[in-house]
Symmetry: C2
Subunit: 141 residues, 2 copies
């Protein structure tokens, strides 16, 4: 591994915060002046993306049973994960697997806003949950 890592991090894509009341959503807009660029429903949560230059703050509001509700029950409202944009998520995931890095997603899957995503298991980063995001659509052969 080391400097030869071919994961190819481009930038922080987003940092995600899990919550159940609307204080954070209101304050990101009214206090910080960030605009909500996208709002989408996931399984048991509503996801909102607040743009800050080339990155986003993602809010994950629990609306029913699911992973966000489970997280809130354990931790309360808290930062949930950090996501990095990569150029080629298939290449990144294949390399991580080959190196024995524990993954939540063994292959990339569809994420919000037409992205493709994969989560690395937090045990690989000492408790930090890392998501990789490819912005572009699936390459055609």
């Amino acid at each position: 591994m080391g400097e030869s890592s071919p994961v190819g991090i481009r930038r922080i894509h987003h940092v995600a915060f899990a919550h159940s009341d609307d204080t954070v959503v209101r304050s990101l807009g009214e206090v910080l002046g960030l605009a909500c660029a996208v709002e989408e429903e996931g399984p048991g949560f509503v996801e909102r993306m607040f743009r800050a230059d080339s990155s986003f703050v993602q809010t994950l509001e629990a609306t029913g049973p699911g992973v966000i509700d489970d997280f809130l029950a354990r931790r309360g409202p808290a930062l949930h994960h950090v996501a990095f944009e990569v150029a080629d998520i298939d290449r990144a995931v294949a390399w991580l697997s080959g190196e024995g890095v524990r993954l939540v997603d063994s292959t990339a899957r569809p994420g919000g806003g037409g992205t493709r995503v994969a989560f690395i298991h937090p045990s690989a980063f000492g408790g930090l949950l890392v998501e990789l995001v490819e912005e572009s659509r699936r390459k055609t052969a």
Copy 2:
């Protein structure tokens, strides 16, 4: 408040993760290929900044009693705060105070790497700890 917020967020400056073992530091370098740009000592912790384009992942490693050790005792290794770069931190803090937004720091104070920083109280963001960072040195009159 609303769209008239003069806080003037430029970008995500960093997202911070508190920890006590070195797994996250090793993995940010070896797995993701991020370089540690700065390492500085704080009161009871070592702070490292891993560059990802124009933002950083900041790791806060507890080395003795202090706020990071306290946080780890309550939460375990976890994301700690998100920091935004602003152009004029004195103006931002003055406006937040005037609007009644609860602050941890009532005036800006020196941060790492020659920055000036102020934390907003997490109660203002539903549990999310937000830091404001001004990169440039103090303006002279």
